[in-house]
């Protein structure tokens, strides 16, 4: 097969393949189900890290490292396969971004609005000793008063 024949075949293959891919995008339900499965698996580790005060929630709906210096530390020194705190945070935020996009599409609002609502939700349900970021400062949830009356003491 010479070069020009190969180019024509490749072009035709691309042209025919594109509509097939476009016609079968992953269904919204499948995307959400995959996301949920990943986040559910990650949740116990995330919660343990939150309990340890290494990470905290923000009003923007993302999880952050409380101290940047712990970014390279292993989440579980006994099990390096669990990765570092930075990797855990990045993976969680990546999935959250996908979730916000998916819900925004479904609800016909912006992903930023979904993110903000999840940030408020996370802040509302955080345990009293968990750290939350308010106006750039890390504070314990129990020191934050909300208008819902769901104050943690």
């Amino acid at each position: 097969m010479n070069r020009s024949t190969f180019a024509v075949v490749a072009l035709l293959a691309t042209l025919f393949a594109a509509p097939v891919v476009a016609q079968n995008p992953p269904a919204q339900g499948d995307v959400l189900a995959e996301l949920k499965a990943r986040m559910k698996t990650r949740y116990p580790l995330l919660e343990a890290t939150r309990d340890a005060g290494k990470i905290g929630e923000t009003r923007e709906g993302v999880v952050k490292l409380v101290k940047a210096t712990s970014a390279g530390d292993a989440v579980d020194p006994k099990d390096p396969a669990k990765g570092t705190f930075a990797e855990l945070v990045a993976a969680e935020n990546k999935d959250r971004a996908l979730l916000y996009e998916a819900l925004a599409k479904e609800l016909k609002i912006t992903a930023a609005e979904v993110a903000k609502q999840n940030g408020l939700r996370n802040l509302d349900k955080a345990r009293p000793e968990h750290l939350v970021e308010i106006k750039g400062e890390w504070v314990q949830r129990k020191s934050v008063r909300t208008v819902t009356g769901n104050d943690k003491k």
């Binding site: 819900l103 609800l107 609005e113 609502q117 308010i134 934050v144 008063r145 909300t146 819902t148 009356g149």
Partner: protein, 75 residues
């Protein structure tokens, strides 16, 4: 000369010495107050419902400490 100076200063010094007891010197220190942080939560119920539905595993995965707080409303 000394006696004369003393006689002149004495009438001035005595009222000053007596008046000094009338002044009170007080330093006010503001009490240290830790004010709670207030935030306003603008809840969008529709979005919250979707999020609650998605994150339903959080309730089963992490048993929350029993709450006795008044005013808690389940959304």
């Amino acid at each position: 000369m000394r006696t004369r100076t003393a006689a002149l200063l004495l009438p001035c010094a005595v009222p000053l010495a007596l008046a000094s007891g009338c002044f009170a010197h007080r330093v006010d220190t503001a009490p240290i107050e830790i004010k709670p942080i207030h935030i306003t939560m603008d809840i969008n119920l529709k979005v919250q419902r979707e999020l609650d539905e998605f994150f339903d595993f959080e309730k089963t995965a992490a048993p929350e400490s029993p709450t006795t707080e008044p005013g808690r409303k389940d959304r």
